[in-house]
């Protein structure tokens, strides 16, 4: 009876480590995916902003030359 109880406790402990292990995998992966998508969004916004600035610059030069 005592041995069975020990086995059950060992398996419960193992399962909690297993859960913890897979949780770590998903946290790392989703954290990295989030970081990738945030960096991509920031860069795309930056490109849009710089292109818009460039367009404004060109159009203001056109107005000045006219």
């Amino acid at each position: 009876m005592e041995d069975l109880l020990k086995e059950i406790l060992k398996e419960v402990r193992n399962l909690s480590y297993l859960f913890f292990g897979y949780a770590v995998i998903w946290i790392f992966l989703f954290g990295y995916l989030y970081s990738l998508s945030r960096r991509e969004r920031d860069l795309r916004n930056e490109i849009e902003r710089l292109k818009a600035e460039r367009r404004d610059e060109v159009s203001s030069k056109d107005v000045d030359s006219k």
């Binding site: 060992k10 398996e11 402990r13 193992n14 399962l15 480590y17 297993l18 913890f20 292990g21 897979y22 770590v24 995998i25 790392f28 992966l29 990295y32 995916l33 990738l36 960096r39 991509e40 860069l43 795309r44 930056e46 490109i47 710089l50 292109k51 600035e53 460039r54």
Partner: protein
Amino acid sequence: MKKSSVWLDRLGIATLLVVSLALYLAFNYAPTEAKMGSIQRIFYFHFGADVVGLSAIVVAAVAGALFLKSGAQKWDRLAAASMELGFVFGAIALATGMIWARPVWGTWWTWDPRLTTFLILWLFYIAYLMLRASARDDPQMARLAAVFTFVGVADVPFVIIAPRLWRGISPVLFGSGPITDFSTAFQMTNEMVVTLMVSILGVMLLYIYLLTQRTRLEELREEVEALHAEAYA
């Protein structure tokens, strides 16, 4: 839709399917290991992350060599992306290895040859990322970073042969090694081998998918730098 985008979407779907299959096999198909119990099921993804952790620096070193030879920026982008992913998957391998070791070995960490050589490799990834971050716009930095990957890749054979070369407690999964103590190593059944192979394939596909995405990010960063240079010219 662009051809590369279609290819990337297909790769993403294939990755999702193989990773899902690997998870199913790890929890429903592979038998419970007799000595270690359920915690051994973490090993399938731990080993996959381990393989990617080792492969990423090899990919970076090859890309670095091609960059030094041709000077093409695409190889430098690939090397930088691969090193960042090596850091991420290396961290997963180290963390899951520690979680596996706690109930099996009774300790979170031990200075076993394989663990130590893998930790050194992971520190190389960190050093590389710090090197790149410290002087991003310096054109000499890309060349120096490429050379740095050659130093790091020299550690890879030691990680692989460490358990066979020196007496450690890390299990040798394939072939016969000096480790015969099955309280720490384990003999795999056919179901376990199939599950391990599918898991490695799933993690490798995930690495390739993320590598493509990360390389694209590097292209965007260069576009921003070019636009900045144009604006201040």
